[in-house]
Symmetry: C2
Subunit: 456 residues, 2 copies
């Protein structure tokens, strides 16, 4: 028994795993480490060559990087952290808790401490928080040859060398951007400005949202965008791979929020039971409390007692309103996120959703009438003497509710944006709840209008 | 009157718009053209310098590119199309209808016709359909100097020169990839292989899904991935900007499908009324028909008549099941899309969702009991003699339904994937409908169990 344990133990020792992983690509090492406990992952990391360990820590895909770093002996942690790129390092410190954070920070080089401090000051999800400070910039009075020499020297320490930023020699402010492909095609003796882009570069403020950074990079097919401060100095660059990570994270969060919960920031299986309940119970309870307004059906109890048959269609009618609302919301969330539409376009959407809702409601109303007539005629169910009036009530209510659902669902993202929230916080369950409560009022209102004097 | 019209006419003439736009960035020209009718956009395009017009047509952001191309006089269309990059050109032809498509295709250079034919043969959303054939490849026996000279010559006609593919000199199969940054740092006299990446490049088959291409590019932080055929020849490359467009489109489609409709492939305001109804009515009607099963409550009519009070909680209970299901579905759709989880992990999810559902259901059950007790005590509503039993019925039903909702919602994406569908086709309304129907059965079942002998 002990022998087997020993054998397994050896094959799975940190040293053995480390040597197996040392020839894998960094991203594959990350994937393997993500499967291990933080303590074990840290131990394996210590058995990788330093360069490789730095490369692994530098990848945004590594889960629990702060936890892993804290499990490293401090004298091993410092050189690894020092080798990391500034943006990933800031990300690790951002997620680390006190007092570990300050303790580790103090051990780093004062220069790194300072640049880290600056990065950490930017709000989460801002361009400043995802930018890297390792970029190439040269004064505008350099030649192409001199710039290329400079790039050859610094290439190893820069996240990208494909975009080179040309600065005013005196004021050090950003003048132009040059791509490496244009640079190598130019005459070595010519000034760098001879191969600059025809236009001033697109820039970001460090406080710009990362989603906006992603939108600009995607729109202009850029490999990197410089982040500049108010006086025109380049603080860092946001690269296309930072942006892909940001887009993927953002869509995960959007889908989760649209599903009616707080966004998780970790993979499903990594989230603890307590945290999972916390992320889901809040919205679920809030929706539950709002939905309780439907229990105010109690005010219609008189009608309900007289016409039990009306209750049969409650779920059907309510869910149709919710479904049409959720369709409209999903459309508008994306249209606003992609800036296909802006706040001022709300009325263009409203005048489209109104006829759309009426048409969709009429289709469902027609189906409902057919179903009631069929069931009555075939004899599956007896809706009573006034079955035709009931069919009409259900159909009219459907038109009203689906129209209301489409309108409410499409306007909600605008309202949220107007109030300063992310339009993507509008969730399908939220819209459904909103429409459910109003839907009941519409249903009983239509019933009162059509059925009073007959069965009511 | 006529003068004013003339003036407006002149300022908005294609020539005037064209000259205004000729100094803008191509992506901004695209945005401006997207605001115009196809006919007008085509007219403006004719007033742009040819290079600029090609650049505009080459951007994936241009809506209705096929329509615009068809509005161009054919002798103007041919040089523009000839200048476009292969992947965008294929995209335009893919969306064009016959006979315009064949008519235009015949006018192109036979070489282009042939390469287009190959690209068009790949399935939509595959790596083959988004790849470009304009990449740099060199035989392995070249030196760095010779490679750089080659790049300088072809740079203008290649989508990217940052990744260079090294081929077997005899068999022309892919051996290695070299990045431009390493290339410029190498000794010009050395063989190209001296600066090659340490590992064989990651490659795609032309039939790989574009989502998988995106995942690989994001995971390994690549600027491009070569697409190779079975014998190892490079057919094209998928670049990071193609992939960003693919990711953004994919998330829009995912959100729309999660909202319970067919994905639109165009911006909201661009979709015609009829098409909008078509995209939404299908799912809405299907959900409506399924939800009709809830009208089978008719079988519980006896119970309903005896205990009208039970109907008051139907919307509340049903929506809670739907909400918890939609949360679970949104979690699993993303976890499966990001490959955090695989089909084989379904049981790990099930054994997590079971206690999660019970806990969430208990929280809602508790809230429901508190509400019923409060209303009864304060006198807002009289739930009758057996109000405590009713409170317990509602609470127990909530635990059952929320647990069922969480389980069903989390298993649905697995089931879809198992059946060969995209897990993202599971929509919030679909889950809600599934859970609604079962929810009613659970509710009345619990009621029968607890209330038989008292009010039932």
């Amino acid at each position: 028994m002990e022998e087997i344990v020993l054998e397994t133990g050896e094959a799975n020792s940190p040293a053995a795993i480390g040597s197996r992983l040392s020839n894998e690509r960094a991203a594959d090492v990350v994937e393997a480490l993500n499967e291990l406990e933080a303590e074990m992952a840290a131990a394996v990391l210590l058995h990788l060559p330093t360069d490789r360990a730095i490369e692994v820590l530098d990848l945004p895909g590594l889960d629990r990087a702060p936890e892993i770093v804290q499990k490293l002996p401090i004298e091993r942690a410092v050189p690894l952290l020092t080798g990391m790129s500034a943006d990933q390092l800031a990300d690790v410190f951002r997620q680390m808790e006190e007092p570990a954070r300050s303790g580790l920070l103090r051990r780093l080089d004062p220069d790194i401490q300072q640049s880290l401090g600056r990065l950490l000051a930017y709000p989460e999800d801002s361009a400043g928080s995802i930018m890297t400070t390792e970029f190439v910039s040269v004064p505008a009075n350099w030649t192409i040859e001199r710039t290329l020499d400079h790039i050859r020297r610094v290439e190893r320490t820069r996240e990208t060398v494909y975009a080179i930023y040309v600065l005013d020699p005196a004021k050090k402010t950003l003048l132009q951007a040059v791509t490496l492909r244009r640079l190598i095609s130019g005459d070595p003796e010519s000034p760098i400005m001879s191969v600059a882009m025809p236009r001033r570069p697109i820039t970001l403020s460090p406080f710009t949202d990362r989603e906006e950074a992603a939108r600009l990079i995607a729109k202009y097919d850029l490999l990197a965008v410089p982040v500049v401060n108010g006086s025109g100095h380049v603080l860092g660059i946001v690269t296309v791979d930072d942006v892909i990570d940001a887009i993927v994270k953002e869509s995960t969060e959007d889908v989760q929020r649209f599903g009616g919960m707080e966004a998780l920031h970790e993979p499903y299986l990594r989230v603890g039971f307590g945290q999972m309940i916390q992320k889901r119970a809040g919205w679920l309870s809030a929706l539950f409390l709002s939905e309780m307004l439907t229990a105010s059906m109690q005010f219609f109890e008189g009608e309900l007692e007289k016409a039990i048959v009306l209750t049969l269609f409650i779920p059907l009618i309510m869910s149709s309103g919710g479904n049409s609302g959720s369709q409209a919301t999903s459309l508008l969330i994306r249209a606003l996120a992609l800036q296909e539409l802006h706040l001022r376009d709300w009325w263009r959407v409203a005048i489209r959703e109104l006829p759309t809702g009426i048409a969709l409601g009429s289709i469902l109303g027609l189906i409902a009438i057919i179903r009631i007539v069929l069931w009555q005629r075939i004899g599956f169910y007896d809706y009573g003497e006034h079955w035709l009036l009931i069919a009409i009530t259900v159909a009219v209510a459907l038109v009203g509710i689906v129209t209301f659902g489409s309108l409410a669902g499409s306007m909600l993202p605008f309202i949220l944006q107007r109030l300063g929230f992310d339009p993507a916080s509008a969730s399908a369950p939220f819209v459904a709840t909103l429409v459910d409560v109003t839907g009941l009022v519409i249903y009983f209102g239509v019933a009162a209008l059509i059925l009073t004097g007959t069965i009511l």
